[in-house]
Symmetry: C2
Subunit: 437 residues, 2 copies
């Protein structure tokens, strides 16, 4: 069988890099049989030449001479796996200028400096492929870019950070508090020693910027995404939510609204009836709604050595086949003076809300709370109050119907000032994806 051979420079031989080398060395024949593309590692570049890795490279492949790889005219595709947004960005631009197509998992770089990189790619008639940047092994970029290409996407809801989902699952299932669940995620290797970018929602926002840009064919300003992380989540809210039939997830959301595109990352309650509510542990999933296709959903491992490497190698094949290049060249989202979307202001976001108040147990309290909500056009859909041992700290949980976020913020300020409310109210979004029946 005729096969196109493709020579690859792998730059960054860390965890994912080792996974990529492992797949290429182990599955190259199988891949060639299935796709007609024969993958060959030509260079593996890293500054650390001695560390033990879980893969044995052929002699002479690993070196630290970046220029040698960049200047090798035989190399068609370079894989950037060094991470970070400064050196990696300059590296990607050098590689593109040297005529290499670039495959990367670097979501932070693409979310923050994507247009700059794409521009260089376009000038050099090359492409950047980044299936591995969003939700690891789930072939999500391909699904959104090509699989749903016929659709106007109306909304996407994603659990796109495995660390957060592992922590929230631990809290939900085993009743652990946040600190304990985080510690366990770290011990199990599902959270970094410094988990800041995961738990504060920034990583989810990076992925949302990339996915929304493809889904809506627009240029996304990463800094315009409203982000709340999971650091402040209290176990009691997870328990109350569960009693009411809701699971708590950190959601990355892109919704076309009448007021424009709403982009946000925040903890949210989602009904147990939704497929997303069933996604537990370090798994990721995304539900996308299209005007023709209706509700579709994608599930799998969002991180880890082999799942991420699976996406990197899929991209290498797509680039070698020329598919990634043509998709990149044709897409409005990349390095073109694309449409900047009209964004929905946060105060205009319409959502249901979960509200927890700690109140004094006395007559007339409910009336005063209901009055504040009513004046701010917020109506109550469910109410939960258990008997309490303390009469001055009675937790009251309220689920609202749809209300404007701006109105809810105003109501929260007013509620905090009531003398019968004795702590800052807790407010969490309740997300109800469109019904497709």
């Amino acid at each position: 069988m005729e096969q196109d051979s493709v020579k690859i420079a792998l730059i960054g031989f860390g965890t994912v890099g080792a996974g990529v080398a492992k797949i290429i060395l182990k599955n190259a024949d199988h891949i060639a049989h299935k796709t007609g593309i024969k993958l060959e590692l030509a260079h593996v570049v890293d500054t650390d030449l001695t560390r033990e890795r879980p893969v044995q490279l052929p002699d002479g492949l690993l070196h630290s001479d970046l220029d040698k790889a960049i200047n090798d005219p035989q190399v068609d595709i370079a894989i950037e796996l060094v991470g970070g947004t400064t050196f990696a960005g300059d590296l990607q631009k050098r590689l593109l200028a040297a005529g290499k197509n670039v495959v990367t998992a670097n979501k932070a770089l693409l979310a923050e400096r994507g247009q700059e990189i794409y521009q260089v790619a376009r000038e050099n008639n090359r492409c950047v492929a980044f299936e591995a940047s969003c939700c690891g092994g789930i072939p999500l970029i391909g699904a959104i870019r090509s699989g749903l290409a016929a659709n106007k996407i109306s909304a996407m809801y994603g659990i796109v950070n495995g660390t957060c989902n592992y922590i929230l699952s631990g809290m939900s299932r085993e009743g652990k508090d946040y600190a304990t669940a985080l510690k366990e995620a770290q011990d199990a290797g599902f959270a970094e020693a410094d988990p800041t970018l995961d738990v504060n929602g920034a990583d989810s926002a990076h992925k949302l910027a990339i996915l929304a840009s493809l889904a809506f064919g627009v240029t996304i300003d990463y800094n315009a995404i409203a982000v709340t992380g999971i650091e402040g989540i209290n176990l009691s809210d997870i328990k109350y939510g569960s009693e009411l039939g809701y699971a708590m997830k950190l959601l990355a959301i892109a919704e076309q609204t009448e007021m424009g595109l709403s982009l946000r990352v925040h903890p949210a309650f989602i009904s147990y009836d939704e497929p997303l509510a069933q996604v537990s542990g370090s798994f990721n999933a995304l539900s996308a709604f299209g005007d023709a296709v209706g509700h579709t959903s994608y599930y799998g491992r969002g991180a880890g050595m082999m799942p991420t490497a699976s996406a990197v190698v899929a991209d290498i094949i797509e680039v070698a086949q020329g598919n990634a290049g043509r998709c990149f060249a044709g897409a409005a989202a990349f390095g073109r003076p694309g449409r900047a979307p009209s964004l929905c202001p946060n105060e205009k976001v319409s959502s249901r809300f979960y509200l927890r108040l700690s109140v004094v147990d006395q007559a007339g309290v409910f009336a005063r709370i209901a009055d504040v909500l009513g004046r701010n056009k917020i109506s109550i859909s469910a109410l939960l109050q258990h008997e309490s041992e303390s009469s001055d700290k009675v937790p009251v949980v309220i689920m609202t119907h749809h209300a404007l976020q701006g109105n809810m913020e105003k109501a929260l300020e007013e509620l905090a000032q009531l003398d019968v409310v004795n702590a800052s109210p807790i407010c969490i979004h309740v997300v109800t994806p469109p019904v497709d029946e």
Copy 2:
């Protein structure tokens, strides 16, 4: 922005055809913006020119002159939506010979005569694209072919027929018997007037043949797939299974085993903990396991006008970009003297089983049943017996550990001959996908 314009002949203006026209007329600008491909309908061909369709075509587009469309040199892509396996097959071959790339949703044709069609495509340096043939709007072909291309796939488990899933969901959720649930599926438009090919499993087997061929890079003989439909399913088994924590689904299964590739379609119990168990109504889903990626899953509408049209139009774009053509040319599965897989004989399939016996209520019955099972190397994992009003028809439900299907068949014969067993035993597979933790 530069755009590649592509002229399309749509052949077969039925339900899906109308959906395709609707998308192209409505979303062409949006698609051009997102992909760089401008879609243009050049011909819509059907024998029925008068029927009302839910889309208004520009004047002069609809005609019944097939030759005019085939001989139009401006047409790049032809969409075959006439269905069936004889005329449609000849039509696809004529289109390919005339230099058109073919997009189709015709799973029966590709499963039964695919190699013949692919051969003609190859000879003419054209391709056949068929995302719409498997699970409608879910971009499953792309995910298996490209998204998971780096992986050796070990297994796939799919709910790939919406009619059967709608019927089984109706039986499970609302306690309807098979006939009532089928009638309701027909009334709701989720089952044909003649539902034979859906409920007997043939449609699922068609899809399995196509998906397995891509996933494993092999040529699949459709007739080698062992198929059992849902016609014989009894409501009481759904209820007992549910008590034990299992949902009943019609599964299409491809598993790499030590004895070869096992391909089969049959009703199966699957644990409520599995994502597939949560897929209800007319939705479809597929779980695929790869050696690098682990467990991935895909969910959405498997049929219907707009979801299927979504996949057809996605394919048109893929063909226009040249991606479908390159994937087709490179893949071993299409029209090449590909590897025929070594198939696992059905009697060597290892599975857990659900067994329901109607027995006489007397001492020693369990011992005799256990003796038959034990001699056939089948061990019991759970047992369920409710009190019964009748002492000669006591239902006993047994869940087994893994056993060989051949041994189970032998045990069933022996059990049927016991004088304490007074009806044919009911036996249903219990499917346990690999654990990915």
